[in-house]
């Protein structure tokens, strides 16, 4: 599996994503500077977390319009897998590659902590190594993770089985109390219609190494690896 990680000015989980990818796939991803004209020929593109352009104006807004995103979009249209984590998810929505927006957290505060997610679909190359309904523990670290879309859009996401993860409690119930940021219908991650683009607020790359306190994030990368085995 060949992977690339896009680096914007202000990205800061680019190295974390690369470290996790290398740990699990055994192969170093290519780091692609936003100003580079061409995207290398890869199977997977990660748009990492961080604060591209400081998250000024709106999270992800400026990065979404950088030239490299046009190439990422073109690659996705050809079927390349694109995974947006945290700020990467914000960039993908701002770029119109995923529906909805990520607004300021309900409590207006930055939140960094482990949350529980329920795996809503295994019908994607990102989530196939989990079981449907499985409850996993993954950290969030964001100020703007409050997923919003019009009800019709949410209905469509649900009817097409495109909700990848929801915030839930230990029993798997998607309660209000288990929702860290006020996201509509507890949505933590979604897929595009073609199912080759995933955006999620939680950071699977942060719990992929047992030394860091858990490995529930690792199956995301294993699944991708298997898709190219």
């Amino acid at each position: 599996m060949k992977a690339a990680v896009i680096v914007f000015p202000g990205s800061n989980c680019d190295r974390d994503a690369a470290t996790a990818l290398e740990l699990i796939t055994g192969r170093k991803p290519q780091m692609v500077w936003h100003g580079d004209a061409a995207l290398p020929d890869v199977d997977v593109i990660v748009v990492p977390g961080g604060f591209s352009y400081g998250d000024y104006l709106r999270s992800g807004a400026m990065a979404a319009h950088s030239p490299i995103m046009a190439s990422v979009k073109a690659a996705a249209d050809k079927g390349v897998r694109v995974m947006g984590i945290c700020n990467g998810f914000q960039v993908l929505t701002e770029a119109g590659m995923l529906p909805g927006v990520l607004m300021r957290n309900r409590d207006l505060k930055f939140i960094c902590r482990d949350v529980l997610l329920r795996v809503e679909t295994t019908a994607s190359e990102f989530t196939s190594a989990y079981t449907k309904g499985q409850v996993i523990r993954i950290p969030v670290a964001h100020h703007d993770g409050n997923y919003f879309a019009e009800p019709a859009v949410l209905d469509e996401l649900e009817s097409q089985d495109r909700v990848a993860f929801r915030y839930c409690d230990a029993a798997g119930a998607t309660t209000e109390a288990a929702n860290p940021n006020g996201s509509q219908r507890n949505i933590a991650g979604i897929l595009n219609a073609r199912r080759n683009v995933l955006g999620m607020m939680p950071h699977p790359e942060r719990l992929a190494d047992p030394l860091l306190g858990g490995t529930d994030g690792a199956p995301m990368f294993t699944a991708l690896l298997n898709a190219f085995a």
Binding site: L57, R58, A61, M62, H65, E94, G100, V101, M103, R104, N105, R106, D107, L108, N146, F148, A149, G182
Partner: protein, 80 residues
């Protein structure tokens, strides 16, 4: 010339910031705060001096960057 842009949330979109401000004002003892909505105010200094040309230019800026039209409206005032 100057362009003053107001970016506001569409009605129907929940505004956590506005809600928090309203809450905080009440907590500070300000009674009678019925509602608060928070938006952005952006002042642009542009080289264009012809309002007829400036208007669509700034609209384009709003659509491409300054506002996210999924949830936000924008309004533009041009000045001298």
């Amino acid at each position: 010339m100057k362009a003053k842009v107001h970016v506001t949330l569409k009605s129907g979109v929940l505004d956590p910031q506005g809600k928090a401000v309203s809450h905080a004002l009440t907590a500070l003892g300000f009674d009678g705060v019925l509602g608060v909505r928070q938006g952005k105010y952006i002042e642009l200094d542009i080289a264009e001096t012809d309002p007829v040309k400036a208007k669509p230019l700034v609209e384009d800026m709003c659509r491409k960057l300054l506002a996210n039209t999924v949830i936000e409206n924008f309004a533009i005032d041009l000045e001298g």
